[in-house]
């Protein structure tokens, strides 16, 4: 996504780049042509010994001005794409200056001396007519062109490189001032267009020069780049600016004809003057500006040296903020996060030692624990400072606590050598909750200034967000892990329930169980005791969720192992009560109905250990609940359970329907708080009693869903329907009659 945008930008920048490259080529050609035309004119002068008509003279001057203007724009284009650090800009100028010196010193000595001693510049030049500028020898033409080119090029580089510095942190005004200065310098140069080299300036020219100088002064105080430099770089840059100043003063450029200038490159400036008086003046102004700027820059650097530390601290703060901001995303490693936060005040330069205390969010306690420290051992911290007491204070105040004279505070037990003179405790607050506190200490008393406190305050709020995120992330991971585990538990529990319903002739059975949560405490099961005997159990562990699920699993184990040994319901339940008594918590119990269907004897023997009574409807029955006595499993661990447990024997008649269920069915409440209830269950059973178990089961669930009018159950809910259809025997009719008589 990001790289794509970058690519797009690049492709969009492509035509612009191409355009600038084209213009550079065009301008370069223009400059080269102008330069060659200049040489051609000088050759013409040399050949004819005259300057030609005035129009030709002026035209050649115009060509030169246009040519070097082109050169300016070429260099401008080249440098625009390569912006560099301040020191590098200065180095470029210095190197260009050195190259210029080299070229000048060689070129000015070619073909004999260039100047005659004792005469005033530019009238001291040898090899050309100082009145008209007509060269006498070819060497003069060469010297003049090479020296002019190198001097002008240097002046342009000087201006363009200083532009980089002047326009650091540019505003519209500063940019306008700069280009105004360059423009006025150019205009000032052009006022000399028709003047004879060496002639003194007129009034207009002097005014133009004054205006140019004013703008130079304005621009030479644009020194914003200095404040950002670190101490060492400032020192180095002072050296560079001083060197530049000396270089310009001593003759690189065309300011004066000093002794050294004469020594290194005699007559270089005068050649330029002869070459083009307007360009000579422009170059002079550029050199003057260079000198001015070198002076103000070196002075300003000198004055800014003592404040470098402050700026370094600010830079440290910014860097720390940035690393903290990154950390907000790095929430995987709490220890690393804590270490970074603990180190932040020291790294930002706002404290000498620092440490971090966070409250343990897992246990929910507000007691903080020291988790990380920087430049001080945690043990030392524990010995010297009562971090908990200080934490408690900021926990209440929710604002920073500043102990200016820490050793006098009762919560600090530090002596002067211990490094804790003043102490700043800042709470880490995210979403209105105090997650911890950042402790920062300085060796001296009253060590924290307003900006230190502010910085650490900002650090703390950043840190709080990071810790908060880390916690949320951890909780999320934990939640996901739990839900994964629970879904496994659910699968396991589902396997504890019968995978298929036993098929016995004359009997139809339907069963279902849903849990309110992933796992629940409801249980039902079957055991085939022999071919015509089926044990059926339904149970409900008190409470909900995971703990209920564990006891349900235990119940299943007891059921599967004990039923075959204790076939009668009472026996089984008594055994189960004994077996479970040891493992059930005191507040946990299991209500159970266990019944044995004997299809041979056509009877259902059922016992109820505290469970919802079995509902019974039949062809000729009114519908009833079989409510025999009995305590829930685990309620009594002595003999009371056995003594109070009753068995009920029900003779089966074809068409009898038994409903075994958990309280989730009858106690389910609709939106107005009304329970489904025993009566409704019984009447629904009545209504559908002629159907087979499957249909009755579905009808009851449908009726319940209709009653509740919302999809979610707040309790585990199990429903088991057993229907005795009777066995098709030839003597069915008399048997039915017989039973009818008995009822």
């Amino acid at each position: 996504m990001l790289s794509q945008t970058k690519q797009e930008l690049e492709t969009r920048a492509e035509p612009e780049k191409k355009k600038s490259r084209e213009s550079v080529i065009l301008l370069s050609i223009l400059f080269t042509v102008s330069f060659i035309l200049g040489i051609a004119y000088h050759l013409f002068e040399w050949k004819t010994g005259s300057t030609g008509p005035l129009s030709l003279q002026l035209a050649s001057q115009a060509v030169l001005v246009v040519g070097y203007t082109s050169l300016y724009f070429v260099l401008h284009q080249i440098y625009r794409t390569r912006r560099s650090r301040p020191a590098k800009s200065l180095w470029t100028i210095l190197i260009a200056g050195a190259v210029l010196l080299g070229v000048e010193s060689v070129a000015s000595r070619l073909g004999g001396p260039s100047v005659l001693p004792g005469l005033e510049a530019p009238y001291n030049l040898v090899g050309l007519d100082t009145e008209t500028g007509i060269p006498f020898v070819l060497a003069s033409i060469f010297k003049m062109n090479v020296l002019a080119l190198s001097q002008i090029a240097f002046a342009l580089i000087l201006l363009l490189k200083l532009q980089d510095l002047v326009l650091v942190k540019r505003s519209k005004i500063s940019q306008r001032n700069w280009f105004a200065m360059v423009g006025i310098m150019a205009i000032t140069g052009l006022t000399f267009f028709a003047s004879r080299p060496g002639s003194s300036p007129g009034e207009v020219q002097i005014i133009a020069m004054i205006v140019a100088v004013v703008f130079m002064l304005v621009n030479s105080f644009r020194l914003s780049w200095i404040v950002f430099l670190p101490f060492k770089e400032k020192l180095a840059t002072i050296g560079l600016t001083l060197l530049l100043g000396v270089m310009l003063l001593l003759g690189v450029g065309v300011l004066n004809e000093s002794a050294i200038d004469r020594l290194i490159s005699p007559g270089a400036a005068s050649y330029l003057e002869m070459y083009s008086y307007s360009i000579f003046n422009f170059v002079g102004l550029a050199t003057l500006f260079g000198l001015l700027y070198a002076t103000t820059a070196s002075l300003s650097l000198l004055f800014h040296l003592p404040t470098s530390g402050e700026f370094t601290q600010r830079a440290g703060e910014r860097a720390t903020m940035q690393s903290l901001a990154h950390l907000v995303g790095q929430v995987f490693d709490a220890d690393k996060l804590y270490a970074t936060i603990a180190a932040a005040p020291v790294e930002a330069g706002s404290a000498h030692v620092s440490w971090l205390a966070v409250s343990d969010f897992k246990s929910g306690s507000l007691t903080p624990s020291l988790v990380s420290s920087h430049r001080i051992e945690l043990e030392t911290v524990e010995k010297l400072v009562d971090s908990k007491a200080l934490f408690d204070e900021v926990l209440l105040s929710k604002t920073h606590l500043h102990l200016e004279h820490a050793p006098t505070d009762h919560r600090v037990d530090a002596k002067p050598g211990d490094g804790i003179g003043s102490l700043l405790v800042t709470p880490l607050i995210a979403r209105d909750e105090v997650l911890g506190a950042l402790f920062a200490a300085k060796e001296v008393i009253r060590g924290f200034e307003g900006d230190d406190i502010q910085t650490i305050g900002i650090l703390s709020s950043q840190a709080a967000v990071a810790i908060d995120n880390a916690r949320l992330f951890e909780q999320q991971v934990e939640r996901e892990r739990l839900s994964r585990e629970l879904s496994i538990a659910r699968e396991v529990q589902q396997k504890l329930l019968p995978q298929k319903i036993p098929a016995l002739e004359g009997l139809s059975i339907a069963a279902s169980s849903v849990s309110a949560q992933e796992v629940g405490g409801d249980y039902y099961d079957f055991v085939q005791l022999d071919e015509r005997k089926l044990g059926i159990i339904i149970g409900d562990v008190s409470g909900k969720g995971t703990s209920a699920a564990f006891y349900m699993a235990e119940m299943q184990g007891v059921f599967q192992s004990v039923t075959r040994l204790a076939p009668s319901p009472c026996e089984f339940l008594s055994h189960a009560n004994t077996a479970l008594a040891h493992s059930l918590d005191r507040n946990v119990f299991i209500s159970v109905v266990y019944g044995v269907l004997d299809l041979e004897k056509e009877e259902f023997v059922v016992a109820r250990a505290g469970h919802c009574p079995v509902a019974l409807v039949g062809q000729a029955r009114l519908g009833e609940y079989v409510r025999s006595g009995g305590l829930g499993l685990g309620l009594d661990r002595g003999s009371l359970f056995r003594e109070t447990l009753e068995e009920e024997r029900i003779s089966l008649e074809p068409g009898d329907v038994f409903a075994l269920y958990t309280d989730g069915v009858v106690e389910s409440r609709n939106e107005s708080g009304e329970e489904y209830g025993y009566d409704r269950l019984l009447s629904t059973l009545q209504k559908h009693r002629y159907q087979d178990a499957e249909v009755i089961h579905k009808s009851i669930l449908d009726d319940l869903a209709l009653f509740l009018n919302h999809g979610n159950y707040d309790d585990d809910m199990t429903l088991l329907i057993i229907k005795w259809h009777g066995i098709e025997l030839p003597e069915t009719t008399p048997r039915v009659l017989e039973t009818e008589e008995s009822t």
Partner: protein, 115 residues
């Protein structure tokens, strides 16, 4: 959110807890806390007045089971009084009347303590 509350009353040395609302898995801890408070105050004669108890779940019943042994060991008892019919039915189904004194009115429960 919780629609369950426990009110404390005294009748001589008998501590009466008025339950109001619905006692289920979420609110069971409040009743636990209330009984613990009685124990901490060495009141072991406790009457649970259920006249305003609208609903009780198995987890709620578990609270009584959790503390009855300890209270009785200290010579006291937890008696349950004035339950609404529907709530009594839940106690009754599980056989709680065999384990606890469950009386129709608070006065009868007090009388039982005074026996």
């Amino acid at each position: 959110m919780s629609n369950f509350s426990v009110g404390f009353r005294n009748n001589g040395s008998i501590q009466i807890l008025d339950l109001r609302g619905e006692l289920d898995a979420h609110t069971a801890s409040e009743l636990e806390a209330a009984i613990q408070k009685c124990q901490a105050g060495s009141s072991f004669q406790i009457i649970i007045n259920g006249s305003n108890l609208a609903y009780i779940s198995s987890a709620g019943l578990g609270v009584f089971m959790a503390y009855i042994e300890e209270v009785r060991e200290n010579g006291g008892d937890i008696k349950i009084a004035a339950l609404q019919e529907k709530v009594f039915n839940v106690f009754d189904l599980l056989g709680f009347p065999l384990l606890f004194d469950i009386t129709p009115s608070e006065e009868e429960a007090i009388a039982k303590f005074e026996e």
